[in-house]
Amino acid sequence: MTARTLFEKVWDAHVVAPETADTPAVLYIDLHLIHEVTSPQAFTELRARKLQLRRPDLTLATLDHAIPTLHPRPNGERPYATPQAKHQVTRLEANCEMFGVELLGWNSASRGIVHVIGPELGVTQPGKTIVCGDSHTSTHGAFGALAFGIGTTEVGHVMATQCLLQRKPRTFAITVDGKLAPGVSAKDLILYVISKIGVNGGTGHVFEYRGSAIEALSMEERMTVCNMSIEAGARAGMVAPDEKTFTWLKDRPRSPRGADWDAAVARWTALRTDPGAKFDREAHFDAADVRPTITYGTNPGMAIPLDAPVPAARSAAEARALKYMQLTAGKPLAGTPIDIVFIGSCTNSRLPDLRAAARVLAGRKVAKGVRMLVVPGSEQVRVQAEAEGLDKVFTDAGAEWRLSGCSMCIAMNGDMAPPGKLVVSTSNRNFEGRQGKGARTVLASPVTAAACAVAGSITDSRPYLAEEAVA
């Protein structure tokens, strides 16, 4: 048999009907995650066509995008930003009821950002095809799943047939060898990679992240890396499953058990790129070259080392970005005063992210005039963080500690930044207006964001981490 890549193995195992010159492949989907914002029109479509949802058992819904992260009012009412946001939630509740879909809603201890709860529950597994009406579905690729975002029409396709029409994407190996320096995180690494290959570098491709630096990453860090594949234009990013993956998944609420677990691990172990398998494209990086990295522009590819000067604009679009960000080429971002810090999103809101930020904040205060928002990725993360006392660290420092949700990553629930304000954010997109009309976003790692909150300006976290090590 010819040598195949990890992607090809997962793809081949899910082809219901092969692609031809005239028609795309029919690809089977093992897990369909849905949320309130991109599903209502798909349910409407099903009703209009008098179709059933084919596999409710392979479909899981949650509330995350437009929901408030503030606690309910004393009368039990949720403080929705708009009546429409509330309406989306009641629609999803009614739709799930009508079509027999399990909803991890307000009353569920498992609710959370769709890409955080999939792995947490153990429904995200190696070798699965996973889709969701959300581009950061690529996150699940950290487990060796083929996971990608789809539009609402396709959400309807999966609901009705459990399949999608797809042309086979090309493959792109991103190999990172060497070691990340202390204080340099997976977030810095992926921002660095995107800055090198560009925001369109992965268009039409599926990434496979490999090499010793990727193997050394924890599962949470691999999720951070795969999460941002879409920011380089790739629909999916994958990491071959290994012992770390299996250990992480074992005994999760919905992981296989007993003999099923053993059989699953045997299957999953074969999910690696064969020696000699060819990728359509390849890029190599050395982890030692990565420094604490932040963005300075209005797309995630406009990223530089934190202490480097802002580069001169190379195009009209970049000039526009610098103007929007109110930055001057040639000057470093370090030292620039900031207004808001957001720690959260499916990129960096898991327990280790919060622990890392708390290490910087412990015994310190958020600078005067800076607002800091910490939003856990899921209710599970929130409960665990509270059990460890992390919430206390944040609130003692002067930060707000919230219920889980997407919050200021997409700023559609009322958590948003006013025009002109500078936000240091652990999320994944720094597009114009992403965190509020006119708001300016600097993407960073959790430790960088926490250090910026304390300093009140853009700053390197490493001195803070070093002091902590001495103390």
Binding site: V26, R167, V199, N200, A316, E432
Partner: protein
């Protein structure tokens, strides 16, 4: 979906690279449960000034861009989120075709599924179109050509199935539903293997 065979219009140009889905339709307008009426918020934060009046600097607000149904955009149009609200908003605004030298994967898929013709051209013809806003352009979906008076025809690639669906005005759900037997067989095989 209505069939789309030919689009003739003057072009409007947004030359910026990497115009993302948040710029096409900001997230705060996604709290809708229908596909309709998003046109008024298409390019919202670019198109309107603070007081809600039209921003004269937004190229599509210029008098000569009014009524144009072909949008020529800078490289990597539609990057970012999977929101299908982006093509819905463009269509509702009156755009029927988007031409760029690169179009983000999910946006392109979403666009074609809604009858918004998303065309990727080589850099040279793309450059020419960027430099000539208001060009009188005819897109022939069947022949896969773009013509402008006095210039050689430009050929473009279109995924054959998407092209078929555009020309016939059929949607892909019907095609998928024809595969139900194969889908059942696949599921049966999976159950046996487990």
């Amino acid at each position: 979906m209505n069939s789309v065979t030919r689009i003739q219009s003057r072009t409007a140009v947004l030359a910026d690279e990497n115009i993302d889905t948040d710029r096409i339709i900001p997230a705060r307008y996604l709290t809708t449960t229908t596909r309709d009426g998003l046109g008024k918020n298409c390019f919202n934060d670019w198109r309107y000034l603070k007081d809600g009046s039209d921003n004269p600097d937004f190229p599509l607000n210029r008098p000569e861009a009014k009524g144009c149904s072909i949008l020529v955009a800078g490289r990597n149009f539609g990057c970012g989120s999977s929101r299908e609200h982006a093509p819905w908003a463009l269509l509702d605004y009156g755009i029927q075709a988007v031409i760029s030298s690169e179009i983000a994967d999910i946006f392109r898929n979403n666009a074609l599924k809604n009858g918004l013709v998303a065309i990727v051209l080589d850099t040279n013809p793309h450059r020419w179109l960027l430099d000539h806003p208001g060009a009188d352009v005819t897109i022939d979906v069947k022949a896969q050509t773009i013509t402008t008076p006095g210039h050689a025809e430009i050929h473009f690639e279109l995924e054959p199935f998407a092209r078929h669906c555009l020309l016939e005005g059929v949607d892909q759900m019907g095609f998928l539903l024809q595969h139900l037997d194969a889908i059942k067989t696949y599921e049966q095989r999976q159950r046996e293997a487990a």
